[in-house]
Amino acid sequence: MSTRRKVLLGGAGALALGAGGLAGRRWYLSREAEPLPTTDAGGRVLWSNWAGNEHSYPAKRAAPASEAELVAAMAGPRPIRPVGSGHSFTALVPTEGTLLSLDRLSGLVSHDTAAKTATVRAGTKLSALGPALAAIGQEMPNLPDINKQTLAGGLATGTHGTGKGVKALHGEVTAMRLVLPSGEVAECNRDTRPELFHAARVGLGAFGVISEVTLQNQPLTRVKKVVTLVDTDQVLADWPALAERHRNAEFLVLPFTGKSVLITHDTTDEPVRPRGADQDVETLMALKQLRDLFEFTPELRRRAAQAAMADIPPEVAVDEGWKLLSNERPVRFKEMEYHVPIAEQVGSLKEIIARIERDAKGVFFPIEARIIAADDAWLSPFYQRECGSIAVHAWYREDHQWMFDLAEPVLREIGGRPHWGKLHSLSGQELRALYPMFGEALAVQRSVDPQGAMMNPFLRKLLA
């Protein structure tokens, strides 16, 4: 064998070993976690959240079918933790006491056609609420990205959609019925027990359990959804104008590609064009494949991505808003999201993209930017402040420490308030500085739950 051939074969062998080594490394880093025991030593069945990063073994599971049963359930083992759909990434739900599901408290209670309001049982899932409201000619002014949450869970965590001048879900609540830890049923609105209304609208499940909610809705409308692939530099430059121009606008930066996905929704009279088959899974897995192949050669990763995305036409759908604004999201992930002063959104987003592309080359999930109007709920991240939101994600199987190391410091430096249901490291002392009415909200919480019946360790840290 010639020396040249030996060298070539040796090189090929080294390359193959290198490629194999990289593939092995990525396989190891992205492996499915060892499954948790389905029951603990006491025979209690595992509960885990959607992403799989929080769990507990509740002593009791309750699923009241009426408000009276909910009152009875409040006498269960402590702490009592209400659970919606388990979509929070933080430890709001884990309990060794009572896990209280609102699944059976679902459906429309009543509505007012003229006022465009509807009273809804708090356990209604958003995927069911959309068609229920459509049947009475109403819709919620906005919806979040995923349609699996319960209304109560969405309200408790300050869940939001996007749109200039459009509030988060709790911003359209006009009245609530709560079962307090004592078993008392409390009605509240802006005139009746206003302090409870302001404190518990975004209540983290710490003030009791919501049984019914009255929503200020709007007439059912048809919207046109357009999904376009754009240059990231361009969308960052155009973002304030884009947000002004569209009823709902958001964009997802595809890191290491120079490209972003712009999603807009606008009211229209155009004929219905149902949304096509889901493209998100295919897109995400393509981004993962690019990461797997080119993790350590970012320039190749960018070129390959841009070549692959060169001729992708916009996706257009026209339908009722509830069918288009929310999504299935079948790929599980973990997420950190902060809500920052609107003027700071683009600058901080640029810094986070730069940090990720410099120091976290394993990231492949998009970075999401949205906009939310101010409201007046005391624990709302949008309390008296229009916000731009920035969210970073990691596949559920992969490490997310980089969020805390790279993204959170940027978001905290500009006074960002964390989404209550998404990953963050803040404690009560730090939160108090961000929320002008934090002390007042805590005083209400202590007054309705003096024994701490609703408090798990995570809530004790938050509401210290």
């Binding site: 389905t38 699944d103 059976r104 899932k125 088959a277 079948p330």
Partner: protein, 115 residues
Amino acid sequence: MRLLLALPLLVLASCGEAPKPLTEEQSAALKPADARLAALYEGSCKSCHTVADSLAPLAGDRTRWDPRWDQGEDALLAATIQGKGGMPAGGQCFECTPDDYKALIRFMAGREEAK
């Protein structure tokens, strides 16, 4: 109508013919015969297991369920409680007991009479 849709499944199962894929509409028309189980199904499993975009195997679609059924009921129960792949732990049914999960799996796998 639901009964009519369910009948071909039973017939196929009994004569050993190869099962055929279901559409979303055919899957959504099925529900467990037991009222309590049906309520659990409607409140949790159905929101994904009748929607193709969710990537979950459609309820009643033996072409998707038979390979899973071959893993054994205990393995399916464990995967349901622990979560696996796109399937979140507990299938988002937080009031379900292990026996409920077993019954729901049997129904979705096309191993129990539907209504």
